[in-house]
């Protein structure tokens, strides 16, 4: 009986004592959501010849998917018959200071690919102009506009770890935005 009691008490208290440390955080959760997000997608177009004004289009959803609605979803307005150099910037604006995720996508270029899919009626030709050494990435691209037209362009960022083959098919979608586009 005695030995039983001793064993029982040890067992009960020994077990109850473990894993208490994290419990202190219950009533005081971490204030900021430190999660890694892409909140903002920005694409900037500069005229290769320097004649037309620079154009910027942005999508921004500062609290990430769900929650509040996006605060910016611009349309893209480009001049007809012009060659633009486009560059993409990805930001996490939910943290302070703002984090530039473009650099990380560039560093892991062998896992990433931007895909541009203009609707068939839209007169624009898009070519990626950067490379991870083997395949293109698409942070930088060249957009050659034709005659005046209107339509949608879908821009996707595909995450293709180990399966990148230059096409848009494999992998998981990290970004998918459809911009209303005017060539005017």
């Amino acid at each position: 009986m005695k030995s039983f009691l001793i064993i029982a008490i040890l067992l009960t208290f020994g077990l109850a004592a473990c894993k208490k440390d994290k419990k202190d955080n219950v009533t005081t959760p971490a204030p900021v959501n430190e999660e890694e997000l892409i909140t903002t997608f920005r694409i900037q177009f500069t005229d290769a010849e320097g004649l037309q004004p620079t154009v910027t289009a942005e999508f921004a959803d500062l609290d990430g998917p769900g929650g509040n609605a996006p605060i910016a979803f611009d349309s893209i307005r480009l001049q007809a018959n012009t060659t633009y150099n486009a560059s993409i910037t990805l930001l996490n604006e939910s943290v302070n200071p703002v984090e530039d995720i473009t650099l990380e996508v560039h560093e892991e270029g062998h896992d990433h690919l931007f895909c541009f899919d203009p609707a068939s009626g839209l007169n624009v030709g898009i070519t990626r102009t950067d490379s991870d050494g083997t395949y293109q990435i698409g942070i930088l691209s060249q957009w050659i506009t034709g005659a005046i037209s209107t339509g949608e362009i879908t821009i996707r960022l595909k995450h293709q770890p180990g399966v990148k083959d230059g096409s848009c098919d494999p992998g998981e979608t990290d970004i998918e935005l459809t911009f209303q586009t005017f060539i005017q």
Binding site: I7, L11, L15, K19, K22, N25, P65, E107, T178
Partner: protein
């Protein structure tokens, strides 16, 4: 027999005694007295006296059956004994037991067996998870996420609408999630039981579908060491499982008993009939230990168990957005076909559950017994998304994308009062305190929860009638700690309500039992229903909770009939549940725009729902050695206001089974063979606009098993079983599998199972 003879050579103690009625104190003549562990038995004489000789010193269990039809009474006796033993038994109630009443008692006992699954009977159990093993109980189906996460569903209800009780302790994990299976190793249990009606009230007000009891083997006080080793290998995933249990008692007195158990299981990448399903490996281990003391009035034990599982989540199910999801629907098979491996990559889950319990039972008198049960549970859930981090240094830490910690401390105090042989009452109070902390991606907030309840249940039983009834009152308080934007808020929700259950059953003639049961249950809304807000990866939907949800109340009624004769056994029950404020996810337009495209939005809403159904079972002994069985269930769910069906209700199904079994004369060996075909129909009753793709077609799958058993001196027979599931290797998708969007269900799986029992007596092993 071997043990008995070795006893006889070495031991010289004797045991003389008399069987007496505990009320009148008069001698009970011709009672049957036995020492089961030594296989000794005799009948007391007309003065109730009995005498055993050639016994060893130490503890033995003496068993007495006062008259035919009575339950045996056990008494632990420590030898040598200096005086004559008086064995008091209770015989006063049923003095004139006629044959018909004995038949009625036996019949009633048998009628309750259908809700029990003996987990050590390898010829009848299937699979490695709690959910699969319960599938033989009428009305039980499963909700799967792939092939490794399996949740039991009772009469169409699961998760927060059923209660799982592990060794007396209400299991508190993150059960609200449909991809969160009960964190329990069924190998610990000697049987699994589904209870409904008043008896379930003592485990909580929220056992709307029923209570699943996971009952470990009782501690073996004053009994020799025994146990078993169970092992299996299976073809689909090249899996292996090893489990063992050992129980016995310590010291000469035999008043202290222990039990230890452990299980390890691995399974590699599983395959459908046509392809391997990438990242579906599982690694699981669990162990438990119990130590108990049993005196004449006091009984106490402590118990600890740990369950841990590493699960790969099928890679193709973590999709980035709706376009990916639509692509997945279009594909006949996933883009990313796996290769065989035991390794687990992201996405994956790691789940750990620890239970500690301390139990004290005290018999105040022979008729009043109190039990105190204190439990402490820790549940850890870590989920790793497919999504890598953009930052290599964060990636290198290998942290989960989110982690949930849940601590539950519970206390249950109940008193069982046996007023008479026919009438028994149970009164009790129960309470628990819970704390939850998350880290990583927000899914559910931190909270603390306090819950308290008090109940009374009564059972009145005569040979022909059984009446039961119970009421319970519960209060529950939930305090949440979270940030709304940048503001720290601590909303509080309080819930309180009554629940009740009343039932009656009557034996009619020699062959029928009729049953009727009605009652109310309720549950407070769960944390995700109140506060989830965000993208549900894998489901590709945005799920939004409603912090103002009320409790969900249900009024239920059930009627059943059972028939039993030499010709057939039949069991049919019809049930009806009327939910007030049934909480479920409902689609809300328009889809929400995010950087990964537009996602459909679902809100947790309440509505009135009716859920009804029929469960049936028929068994016909075709020959002495051959039995045909039929099992079927039909469910019908309706949202009363919109007249729409309800999402996620299991489709109708029936099973035909042929079982042959026989023994070989003059040996301890017997054999069995079983062939089973299950037809599952297409779920045609689905609400509009709430699902991405149509419910999958119905399917027919076959399974079979073949085995040998040998009776041994141990408690279980030796068993060798070869089983096969999905015999025809049919490619199918089940409506209740969340991965039906992406991949087929598993293909054919051969399993070879062995159970080796053992028992030690006087240091000699006997198998």
């Amino acid at each position: 027999m071997l043990a008995a003879s070795s006893y006889a050579q070495e031991c010289k103690d004797t045991l003389a005694g008399q069987v007496r009625d505990s009320y009148s104190n008069e001698a009970v003549p011709f009672a049957r007295v036995s020492i089961p562990e030594l296989e000794l038995q005799q009948t007391a004489d007309s003065s109730g006296s009995f005498y055993f000789s050639g016994l060893c010193s130490g503890a033995i269990t003496l068993r007495c059956i006062p008259h035919f039809g009575y339950d045996p009474v056990d008494l632990v006796v420590v030898l040598p004994l200096t005086e004559r033993l008086v064995f008091n038994v209770d015989t006063h109630v049923v003095e004139e037991l006629d044959k018909a009443r004995i038949v009625a008692y036996v019949f009633r006992k048998e009628s309750q067996e259908r809700f029990k699954v003996e987990t050590l009977d390898l010829s009848r159990i299937k699979g490695n998870t709690l959910g699969e093993q319960l599938e033989r109980v009428p009305g039980v189906t499963t909700l799967n996420t792939g092939s490794s996460i399996v949740k039991p569903v009772i009469n169409g209800m699961h998760s927060n609408r059923i209660v799982v009780v592990n060794n007396g302790i209400r299991q508190e994990g993150q059960q609200w999630g449909s991809e969160h299976a009960p964190e329990i190793d069924p190998n610990l249990a000697s049987n699994l039981e589904v209870i409904q009606g008043a008896a379930g009230l003592q485990y909580g007000p929220d056992a709307i579908g029923g209570v699943i009891l996971v009952n470990p083997e009782k501690l073996r006080y004053a009994k020799p060491l025994s146990g078993w080793v169970k092992s299996s290998v299976n073809s689909n995933g090249r899996g292996a499982m090893l489990s063992g249990l050992m129980a016995g008692s310590l010291f000469k007195s035999g008043r202290i008993a222990y039990r230890v158990h452990g299980t390890g299981r691995v399974n590699g990448t599983q395959h459908t009939p046509d392809y391997l399903v990438r990242n579906t490996a599982v690694k699981e281990y669990s162990f438990s230990g119990a130590l108990g003391y049993k005196g004449t009035r006091l009984e106490a034990d402590v118990f600890y168990s740990l369950f841990a599982t590493h699960l790969g989540i099928f890679t193709g199910s973590h999709i980035g957005n709706l376009t990916d999801l639509n692509d997945a629907f279009q594909d006949k098979q996933p883009k990313d076909i796996g290769t065989f491996t035991y390794d687990i990559e992201n996405p994956k889950q790691f789940v750990q559950h620890q239970v500690s319990r301390a139990y004290v039972g005290y018999s105040w008198t022979e008729k009043v017994k109190s039990q105190l049960l204190v439990g402490y549970q820790y549940n850890l859930r870590q989920e790793y998304d497919n999504h890598k981090s953009y930052n290599d240094s964060i990636e290198a830490l290998g942290l989960p994308d989110f982690e949930l910690n849940l601590w539950t401390t519970s206390a249950d105090l109940k008193t069982v009062i046996t007023h008479s042989k026919a009438f028994k009452s149970t009164v009790g109070v129960a309470g628990f305190k819970q704390a939850n902390a998350y880290s990583g991606r927000f899914f559910i907030p931190n909270f603390q929860k306090w819950h308290g309840g008090a109940y009374y249940t009564g059972l009145y039983e005569t040979a022909y009638w059984q009446l039961e009834g119970g009421v319970r009152y519960d209060v529950s308080k939930l305090q949440v700690y979270m940030y709304e934007g940048n503001t720290f808020v601590t909303p509080v929700r309080k819930f309180a309500n009554f629940s009740s259950s009343f039932g009656a059953s009557r034996i009619i003639g020699h062959h029928w039992i009729a049953k009727l049961n009605a009652g109310t249950s309720w549950r407070p809304p769960s944390i995700n229903e109140l506060f989830s807000n965000g993208l549900h990866h894998g489901a590709a939907s945005i799920e939004v909770g409603d912090s103002q949800l009320k409790e969900e109340t249900v009024y239920h009624a059930q009627a059943g009939a059972q028939y039993k004769s030499r010709l057939a056994k039949l069991d049919v029950s019809v049930f009806f549940n009327r939910f007030d404020g049934f909480i479920n996810l409902q689609p809300v337009l328009p889809p929400q725009l995010t950087i990964v495209g537009a996602f459909p939005v679902f809100h947790y809403r309440q509505s009135a729902v009716e859920l009804s159904g029929i469960n049936g079972q028929l068994e016909i002994p075709v020959r002495k050695w051959l039995t045909y069985a039929f099992q079927g269930s039909v469910l019908y769910a309706l949202e009363t206001k919109s007249r729409q069906p309800v999402y996620g209700i299991p489709s109708n199904r029936f099973t035909n089974r042929l079982r042959a079994e026989a023994g070989w004369k003059k040996t301890n060996w017997s054999w069995f063979a079983e062939l089973e075909g299950t037809q599952v129909f297409k779920q045609s009753r689905v609400p509009v606009n709430s699902d991405y793709v149509d419910a999958p077609d119905g399917y027919f799958i076959m399974s079979g098993s073949l085995g040998l058993t040998k009776k041994t001196g141990a408690d279980q027979p030796l068993q060798i079983v070869l089983a096969v599931s999905n015999l025809t290797n049919c490619a199918y998708r089940d409506y209740m599998n969340r991965f039906r969007y992406f991949t087929d269900d598993p293909g054919r799986n051969w399993t070879l199972k062995v159970l080796i029992p053992f028992k030690l007596t006087t240091n000699k092993q006997e198998i």
